[in-house]
C-alpha cells in the first residue's frame, strides 16, 4: 500500500475471553505519546464477541475512538478471519501506523496482515519514535540483543510493528469520551482455516513478572533446587517476582514463563537483583532497562557486572540468608 492520504495510529486491542491483554494498554499509552507529537488520532481495533463493554476501557487508556467488530465468527481468535477483517479495515480507513503486541497472537497475526496488504513490519520492538517527518522509527534488538537496529518503512502503509510486552508504560486511566463505532463483518463461511477444537488456559499464578516492581532473578550459579528457594524467599520478602535465565528452566527449578531475555520476557522493574547470572546478552536484553540493578556473582570478571549499578563479588550463599533476614526484620518492624 502506498503512503498518501494515510492517517492515524491504530492499536490492535488483543483480548481472549473478553479479557484485554496487558500489552494493549501499554500500546495505547505509547500511541498516545506518539500521536501527541504528531497531532494524530489513536484508534483501537477490537475483534471478538461480547466485547463492546471493553471499548470504554480502551478510550480511558488513551484511544480517541474504537472500532468494534463484534461477531461470533471472530470468537475465539482465528488467524484467517482476523487477517481478513484487518485487510478490510486497512483498505477502508488507511491508517498510517498499526501496532500489535508481540504476543502469541500478535506474532502470528501481524505478519499475515502485513503480507496481505503488502507492507513492512518490524518484530519485537522495544521502542518506537517518530523522526522529524513523522515517520515511525522502530527499534528492535537482533543477534541475541547484541545489536540494536532501527527500522523504518518509508514507502508503504500502514507502518506496522509488534512490540514486546512490558516495554511501554500504560497511562493512568481517566474517564474519557470518544467515538465507538461498530463494523459490519461479512466473512465467507468456508476457507477460514483450522478449526478450534479446544482452548485450555490456567489462571496465571502470582504477580506477573512484567508488572513486578522488584524482580529477583537466579541463574545457573544458584546450583540446586534447594538453593533456588533462597531466590524465591528473597523475592518474597521484597514483594517481588522471581525471574530466571535459561539453565534453571532446563533444570526444572523455574518455569519457562519466568525466563527473562531474548526468548523470554522483558522486564523493567524498579529493582532487578541477579543472583549467579553470568550476563550473557540473551539474558541482558530482557533486564537492562531496569531502574536499579544489583548483582551477586562469585566471579569478579562476570559480564553481568557491566550492566550493574551495585556489584557484589561473593558466593551468594554467604549473602542471601542474611539479606533475607535483615529485610524481613525491617519490613516487619
Amino acid at each position: 500500500m502506498n503512503k498518501n492520504d494515510h492517517d492515524g495510529i491504530w492499536v490492535f486491542a488483543e483480548q481472549r475471553n473478553a479479557e484485554l491483554h496487558e500489552v494493549t494498554l501499554e500500546l495505547l499509552g505509547k500511541a498516545r505519546g506518539l500521536a501527541g507529537q504528531n497531532q494524530g488520532k489513536v484508534t483501537a481495533i477490537i475483534l471478538g464477541q461480547g466485547i463492546k463493554p471493553l471499548a470504554q476501557t480502551l478510550l480511558n487508556y488513551g484511544a480517541d475512538s474504537v472500532l468494534v467488530a463484534d461477531n461470533p465468527v471472530l470468537d475465539p481468535y482465528r488467524l484467517i478471519p482476523y487477517s481478513l477483517v484487518f485487510e478490510k479495515l486497512i483498505k477502508e480507513y488507511h491508517p498510517e501506523i498499526l501496532l500489535m503486541g508481540a504476543t502469541f497472537m500478535g506474532v502470528e497475526l501481524a505478519p499475515r496482515v502485513a503480507a496481505r496488504v503488502r507492507t513492512g513490519l518490524s518484530a519485537h520492538c522495544v521502542d518506537l519514535k517518530l523522526d522529524k517527518d513523522g515517520k515511525l522509527l522502530q527499534v528492535v534488538p537482533g543477534w541475541g540483543g547484541g545489536v540494536i537496529a532501527t527500522i523504518a518503512c518509508p514507502d508503504h502503509r500502514p507502518q506496522m510493528a509488534t512490540v514486546m510486552p512490558g516495554t511501554m508504560k500504560p497511562l493512568s486511566p481517566e474517564e474519557r469520551k470518544g467515538e465507538i463505532k461498530e463494523i459490519e463483518i461479512n466473512l465467507p463461511d468456508k476457507d477460514l482455516g483450522p478449526k478450534v477444537l479446544e482452548i485450555k488456559r490456567e489462571k496465571a499464578e502470582g504477580l506477573p513478572l512484567e508488572k513486578a516492581e522488584v524482580v529477583v532473578a537466579g541463574g545457573w550459579g544458584v546450583g540446586s533446587r534447594e538453593d533456588w528457594k533462597q531466590v524465591e524467599e528473597l523475592a518474597g520478602v521484597l514483594g517481588g517476582a522471581v525471574g530466571t535465565t535459561r539453565p534453571p528452566v532446563d533444570e526444572g527449578w523455574a518455569e519457562e514463563g519466568q525466563m527473562i531475555g531474548q526468548s523470554g520476557k522483558t522486564v523493567r522493574p524498579k529493582l532487578y537483583m541477579g543472583i549467579g547470572i553470568s550476563g550473557v546478552m540473551h539474558h541482558v536484553v530482557g533486564m537492562d532497562q531496569s531502574e536499579h540493578i544489583i548483582t551477586i556473582n562469585s566471579d569478579a570478571n562476570a559480564e553481568i557486572f557491566e550492566t550493574s549499578d551495585v556489584i557484589v563479588v561473593e558466593d551468594f550463599r554467604k549473602i542471601l540468608p542474611k539479606l533475607i533476614q535483615k529485610i524481613r526484620e525491617r519490613v516487619e518492624r
Binding site: 505478519p111 513492512g120 543477534w143 557491566e306
Partner: protein
C-alpha cells in the same frame, strides 16, 4: 502425504557472536569467520517432517534462501535424513526483509509444484523476527499455524495440532495443505547417523537463481523490501558499577540501605 517442504535457514553460530563487529561506513554487520549452523528450530521442523515421512512415506525437501557457501550446512540437513535440497541463491535476493524473503520462498514452493505441508522453525536465532512462516503462508494463500508444540496426522488430509499460547494451549484441526511453524517443545531432533553423512554426499542440492524463479525484482532484495534499516549499533550499557566490599554482614547492610533508598523497603 506425498511431499513435505522444510524451510531451513543457515545462521551464524551463536558461539561466535562475540566476533561480530560493525562496518560503520556501510552500516552493516561484519560476520567474517563466523561458521554457520542450521537454525536450531529448523531442526525441530525437519524432525517433524522426517517422522511423518518415516511413518507414512513420501518425500522431504529442504528449501533455503542463502548464498551458495552454505551448502555444507544444507548437507547436514540431508545427512539428518531429508531427501533433497533446493537452494535459492541469487545476488538480487541480497538484503531481503521478511516479506521479500517470503516472496522468494513462495516462488521456491511454486517451483517445486505439488506439496502437502510446509514446516518452518518458529523463529531464527539471528534475525528473530518470527515473521517468515506466516508471510510465506499468506503469499501461497494457504492457512498457517505458529507456535506448534504437538502435531499428528488424523486422516490423510487432516492434522491435529497443538498451539502454545499464554498460560495454555489451543488444539486445532487443520486440512492440508498448510504452513506450520514449530517450537522446540514439539520434538527432539534425531542424531545424524554416520550412514546419513555418507548418504548425504550423493543427495541432490538443486540451486536456483531468479532466472528460474522469475520473481518481479520490485518485490525482492534491498530495493523490494518495504522495511529499511535506518540505523544499526552495537549495544553498550552505562551503569554505575559500584562494587560493595567487606564482610558478608557489611555487604548486607549496604544492600539493605540501597534497597531502602530505592523506596522499596
Amino acid at each position: 502425504m506425498n511431499r513435505i517442504i522444510v524451510c531451513m535457514k543457515p545462521v551464524p553460530d551463536p558461539q561466535h557472536w562475540n566476533k561480530v563487529s560493525m562496518d560503520h561506513e556501510t552500516q552493516t554487520l561484519k560476520r567474517e569467520g563466523i561458521p554457520t549452523i542450521i537454525n536450531p528450530l529448523d531442526k525441530h521442523a525437519l524432525e517433524a517432517a522426517l517422522s511423518i515421512r518415516d511413518a507414512h512415506g513420501g518425500e522431504v525437501l529442504l528449501l533455503s534462501m542463502a548464498p551458495p557457501f552454505v551448502t555444507p550446512t544444507l548437507r547436514e540437513g540431508l545427512a539428518m535424513g531429508a531427501d533433497r535440497a533446493i537452494l535459492l541463491s541469487d545476488p538480487v535476493f541480497a538484503g531481503s526483509d521478511t516479506l521479500a524473503t517470503a516472496h522468494i520462498l513462495a516462488a521456491g514452493c511454486r517451483w517445486i509444484g505439488e506439496f502437502d505441508l510446509v514446516l518452518c522453525g518458529n523463529m531464527t536465532i539471528d534475525g528473530s523476527t518470527a515473521q517468515v512462516g506466516s508471510q510465506l503462508a499468506e503469499l501461497l494463500d494457504l492457512p498457517s499455524v505458529m507456535h506448534v508444540i504437538d502435531l499428528h496426522r488424523k486422516e490423510d488430509h487432516l492434522l491435529r495440532i497443538t498451539q502454545k499460547i499464554e498460560h495454555g494451549y489451543v488444539r486445532l484441526e487443520a486440512e492440508l495443505p498448510l504452513v506450520i511453524s514449530v517450537r522446540k517443545e514439539l520434538n527432539k531432533p534425531r542424531y545424524t547417523p554416520f550412514t546419513g553423512i555418507l548418504a548425504a554426499e550423493s543427495k541432490e542440492i538443486n540451486m536456483l537463481s531468479n532466472e528460474e524463479l522469475h520473481i518481479d525484482t520490485g518485490l525482492i532484495g534491498l530495493e523490494g523490501s518495504p522495511t529499511k534499516m535506518a540505523g544499526l549499533e552495537l549495544r553498550r550499557f552505562k551503569r554505575e558499577k559500584e562494587r560493595v566490599e567487606g564482610s558478608p554482614e557489611e555487604i548486607v547492610q549496604v544492600l539493605v540501605d540501597k534497597i531502602h533508598r530505592y523506596g522499596i523497603i
